[in-house]
């Protein structure tokens, strides 16, 4: 089982969204995910996942997707 970098990043983004999103409105949840990824992910990781949003569209959960759109805008 060797996941590639992209699928790993997608999984991580989803995990973050499902763990810190709860208990808040969707907007707040998205903010929290944006904040977490900006604080802890290296730029090349953010670039990679954002550049491949299309490819991973089906795998990303909605909160993660929205967060990544915002992250992409800031790159």
């Amino acid at each position: 089982m060797s996941t590639n970098e992209l699928s790993h990043l997608v999984k991580m983004a989803n995990q973050i969204a499902s763990n810190i999103g709860l208990g808040s409105t969707e907007d707040e949840a998205v903010d929290k995910v944006v904040n977490h990824i900006s604080l802890f992910w290296a730029r090349p990781m953010r670039e990679k996942i954002c550049a491949n949003m299309q490819e991973s569209a089906n795998d990303l959960n909605p909160i993660a997707t929205k967060a990544l759109v915002q992250i992409n805008a800031k790159l």
């Binding site: 060797s2 970098e5 973050i16 499902s18 763990n19 604080l39 290296a42 090349p44």
Partner: protein, 983 residues
């Protein structure tokens, strides 16, 4: 509080030697400053509290007025006044026993001659320690002992360190009237089964110090005195050899033995040491202080140091005995380079190795960009070394791709505690356990992984503290000699957060929370939101029981106990952090402590037990890719500018790659260079296939280590590392205690690790100038507020210091968050239970969890190269009898262990420690390939790998000659790489 007037007697070693008739006030012994850890006071201090406020008593000993805390024995009171009453069965690490009667004294107004070790000092007592009658009695006692003792003093291994010999001298024994021909034990057979010490019963005086040390200090109860009278003798287990008994080889009995009966083999071989140096153990996060007993530059014994505040004179088999690896023949002491890993190594000078490495790194960065290289610091190296490696990465590589192996163990601790309390560290001292009423141990196995602290826990438990163990496996603490858990919550791996939420739910549900402290100390808004969340029925134990497997009634009882039994302390280990929800679990633990007012004083707290010696330190030193030293985010302009000025570079404000991300990028081909100091990611990191693929993809792997470890087999540059005996520095243990590591021998490779990093950095074009590690610490202190007042000078004065140590707390901070939380108000974090994706299936119907055992340490590179392997020669798979029976497996069978990540083969150990459906192994031996099995799932917040949950299948292997495919490859690759070394 005790005071002493220095004007009367500035000598700190003694006190109160006032002749009668002197007008000055009596001296008072102040245990904070006056206890000499190298002196044996005969009986323990009445309290371990460094600042006892208790009552003082005045008595007269041989005409001297002496004032001591109430509860002090006459023997100890005299010793404090430098009057050393002869003694044999007493030593100040053990409670008085009163069996040898050598310490007898005369007390005015009392009949007979009481033993001073068992007689408490009383107000107004007048004691005479020496007169003709007492002298005669003592001589008679010694005569009895010596009549049944070999007289080979000159050639005895204890010569120079024998209390029996000393006492014979002190009492003036001149002849033995009974002769030596009567009944004796001189032919008793030696037990040499233990690799580190021998037991020679012919020299035993049956003082029972060893028996008591095993009980009181270690808590193993392996020794007994069997029979009575003349026949009485010490025996291990049921008259077994030491190695066959319950003995865990901690050595406490050897240290307590006043004669040569129990002696270290190293002392028998080499003789008594001629000097010693105080240093810190390089194994686990307890951070025990030791006296390295030396002959020249050779360590002949490691003696746990009584002055060490983490260990108080105790140690385990690793720290005390397993130091031989430092001079093992496998040490590589010359730098080596090679162009590819399919080539033999070439031995070169340091200069050549540095410039080879530097030009490769620079070439890679030119071709693949600044972010294509990075470094990994070690939790086994010193603070100073770690600091330098992260500095090199940030300043010389010009990025923040630096991470530490703490990533794969305690990164969720840092994240979770910072989010709730505001500081990424445990809240207590180890001493705090002495005031604990109920301990909850979650996902930790202290008696194996943190043995000295485990012993201190057991001691407190024997005094009556309650215990809750939360673990899928039945660890030793659950049921041991004189220790029994009140509740063992045997949850299914992966359901931690469900468990901790259920605990909190019960406390709220039953109204057991501490409303006042929540109102006063916590962020009330966060509490209200959290309360609404946790009150939901889905968190009730009746619900969570369905998947966690913990019976609701048992969990409710445990929650009540924790919330109401007084001081509640939580101790946790990697069973908490190494999960896909490790960070959530840490926050859940913090919530629970805040909820029940169990933070901010002695006896309570949240205590992560750190695996390796310097996990805390490596995190403190800015080893994480998003943080500068002192846990400050790299994006903060103010802090970054401060470092830029000090280091004279421009720093990248973006966080860098974590280890997992580095490996992913390496597999992808965008990450090409890595500098690894003192770590073995090829063995310790999960999903070995993935790690190996990543390492093979690197164009420049620089490994700095003492051995050719698994990672080094993939390296292009090898830089010799130095063991903890070969350098100066500091380690920071699990209680934030910064302790000195002192050089006792020259580095075998010529340079200490910090010097190697300086050389590499210089070759990369970034020169750092330090003449000694103390200068590195000065720089750390100048840039890190929590280390402001730390310096080598202060460490020499205090022995050790617990950070935060700054202008407000110049002597350090034993207990944190006393007045308020570091972040101000405590924050309740929402911790929803999100099941891991790693689920059992038909193909992989069982869960594997991993752990450690006592005699081995981490990847085993050090301990495997010592006699510790006598206890654990290979990793085995523990499996419940039901599961074993289903598969036709019996103990000793070769089994195959397979997960979605890979498969390997091990031997089975059928044991009821496991619950059905769960298996367990360790990863101390590379060829077992436990990490072939583990997956690359990780904690959502920190990427800490999920070592503790892997769905697996176990089957009996029919053809026992076979190894798994990976094991066969591993063996071939190892052989090939070792051959490259020989050239």
């Amino acid at each position: 509080m005790l005071q002493r007037s220095d004007s009367v007697n500035p000598d700190t070693s003694g006190l109160s030697s006032l002749g009668t008739g002197t007008v000055a006030a009596p001296m008072i012994f102040d245990p904070r400053t006056d206890i000499d850890p190298d002196k044996d006071y005969g009986t323990p201090a009445p309290t371990n509290d460094p600042t006892p406020v208790g009552e003082l008593i005045t008595l007269h000993i041989d005409g001297n007025e002496v004032r001591v805390p109430k509860g002090t024995s006459v023997l100890r009171a005299a010793a404090m006044a430098d009057i050393n009453i002869p003694k044999l069965c007493a030593t100040d690490s053990l409670e008085a026993f009163g069996s040898c009667r050598l310490c007898l004294v005369q007390i005015e107004g009392r009949r007979g001659y009481p033993a001073s070790c068992t007689t408490p000092a009383e107000e107004g007592m007048v004691v005479k320690t020496q007169n003709d009658k007492v002298a005669k009695l003592r001589r008679n006692i010694m005569e009895m002992y010596i009549s049944d003792h070999p007289l080979d003093c000159l050639t005895c291994s204890a010569n120079g360190d024998c209390e029996l010999q000393d006492m014979a001298g002190v009492v003036g024994l001149r002849n033995v009237r009974y002769g030596y021909e009567g009944d004796n034990h001189l032919d008793a057979e030696k037990d040499e089964s233990n690799p580190y010490f021998t037991f020679d019963p012919s020299k035993c005086i049956v003082c029972s110090r060893c028996v008591r040390a095993c009980e009181e200090t270690q808590g193993t109860f392996a020794l007994t005195i069997s029979s009575r009278g003349f026949e009485s003798k010490v025996s291990a287990g049921q008259d077994q050899a030491f190695m066959d008994s319950e003995c865990v080889s901690c050595g406490a009995c050897v240290q307590a033995c006043p004669t040569a009966t129990l002696s270290e083999k190293s002392i028998i071989d080499k003789g008594q040491p001629e000097h010693s140096v105080i240093t810190t153990c390089a194994y686990c996060g307890v951070g025990c202080a030791f006296k390295a007993d030396m002959k020249g530059d050779e360590v002949v014994r490691m003696t746990p140091w009584k002055g060490g505040k983490a260990n108080r004179g105790h140690s385990c088999v690793k720290g005390r005995f397993a130091f031989g690896y430092a001079t093992h023949g496998d040490r590589i002491t010359t730098p080596m380079i090679r162009d590819s890993i399919d080539e033999p190594w070439r031995k070169v000078s340091y200069e050549e190795a540095f410039s080879f490495a530097a030009s490769r790194i620079k070439g890679i960065q030119k071709e693949f960009g600044r972010n294509s290289v990075g470094g990994i610091t070690s939790s086994r190296c010193t603070n100073e070394e770690t600091y330098l490696v992260q500095k090199l990465v940030r300043a010389a590589f010009g990025n923040n791709n630096v991470d530490t192996c703490a990533r794969v163990c305690h990164s969720p601790t840092g994240f979770g505690l910072k989010a709730t309390f505001g500081e990424s560290a445990g809240t207590q001292t180890f001493d705090s356990v002495e005031k604990t009423d109920v301990m909850m141990v979650i996902g930790a196995n202290p008696t194996d992984a943190h043995p000295v602290f485990g012993s201190r826990m057991k001691k407190r438990l024997r005094e009556g503290a309650k215990l809750i163990v939360v673990d899928p496996r039945s660890i030793d603490l659950v049921s041991g000699p004189h220790v029994k858990a009140n509740h063992h919550l045997q949850l299914l791996p992966g359901t931690n957060v469900a468990f901790i939420n259920a605990m909190a739910h019960v406390i709220i549900d039953e109204g057991l929370e501490s409303t006042t402290s929540i109102q006063e100390r916590c962020d009330v808004e966060s509490f209200e939101a959290w309360k609404a969340f946790i009150s939901d029925k889905r968190h009730s134990p009746e619900e969570t029981e369905k998947y966690s497997g913990i019976p609701a009634a048992e969990l409710r009882a445990a929650a009540r106990l924790y919330a109401t039994a007084g001081n509640g302390a939580i101790y946790y280990g990697l069973g908490v952090t190494e999960h896909s929800q490790g960070s959530s679990m840490v926050m859940g633990i913090a919530n629970l402590a805040m909820l029940t007012d169990n933070i901010g004083r002695e006896g309570v707290g949240v205590n992560p037990l750190r695996g390796q010696n310097n996990v805390q330190g490596s995190c403190d030193m800015g080893s994480f890719p998003h943080e500068l030293p002192g846990y400050r985010h790299i994006s903060g302009d103010e802090v970054r500018t401060q470092f830029e000025k000090a280091w004279n570079v421009t720093l990248d404000p973006e966080p860098g790659y974590r280890i997992t991300n580095m490996l992913d990028a390496a597999v992808e081909g965008t990450y090409k260079g890595l500098y690894v100091q003192g770590e073995d990611i090829a063995q310790s990191d999960p999903n070995t296939h993935h790690v190996e693929q990543a390492l093979k993809n690197l164009d420049c792997l620089i490994v700095q280590d003492i051995f050719l470890n698994e990672t080094a087999k993939f390296a292009h540059v090898f830089l010799p590392g130095s063991s903890f005996l070969e350098k100066d520095g500091t380690f920071t243990n699990a209680e934030r205690r910064i302790s000195p590591v002192r050089k006792v021998m020259e580095p075998l490779g010529g340079l200490s690790d910090w010097e190697v990093t300086l050389g590499l950095s210089k070759a990369l074009g970034y020169e750092m100038n330090y003449n000694h590690p103390s200068e590195i610490m000065d720089e750390i202190a100048s840039l890190t507020p929590t280390f402001e007042r730390v310096s080598y000078e202060r460490l020499d004065q205090e022995g050790s210091l617990q950070w935060p140590c700054n202008d407000e707390t110049p002597n350090g901070t034993p207990i944190m968050h006393i007045e308020e939380y570091t972040r101000g108000k405590g924050n309740f974090a929402l911790t929803e239970y999100v099941p891991t994706e790693e689920k059992v299936t038909k193909r992989f119907p069982m869960l594997l969890t991993t752990g450690r055992i006592l005699s081995q340490y981490n990847v085993g590179a050090q301990t495997r190269r010592t006699e510790n392997s006598s206890w654990h020669g290979e990793d085995v798979l523990e499996i419940h009898p039901h599961d074993a029976e289903d598969r036709g497996i019996v103990t000793g069978d070769k089994i195959s262990l397979a997960s979605r990540a890979g498969d390997t083969q091990l031997r089975a150990l059928v044991t009821k420690r496991m619950q059905p459906g769960v298996v367990y192994t360790t990863f101390h031996h590379p060829e077992s390939g436990a990490n072939i099995i583990t997956t690359d799932n990780s904690d959502w917040a920190t990427n800490c790998p999920e070592y503790k949950v892997t769905a697996v299948q176990v089957n009996k292997v029919l053809n026992t000659e076979d190894a798994s495919e990976w094991q066969a490859q591993f063996a071939a690759f190892t052989k090939e790489q070792l051959a490259y070394l020989d050239n």
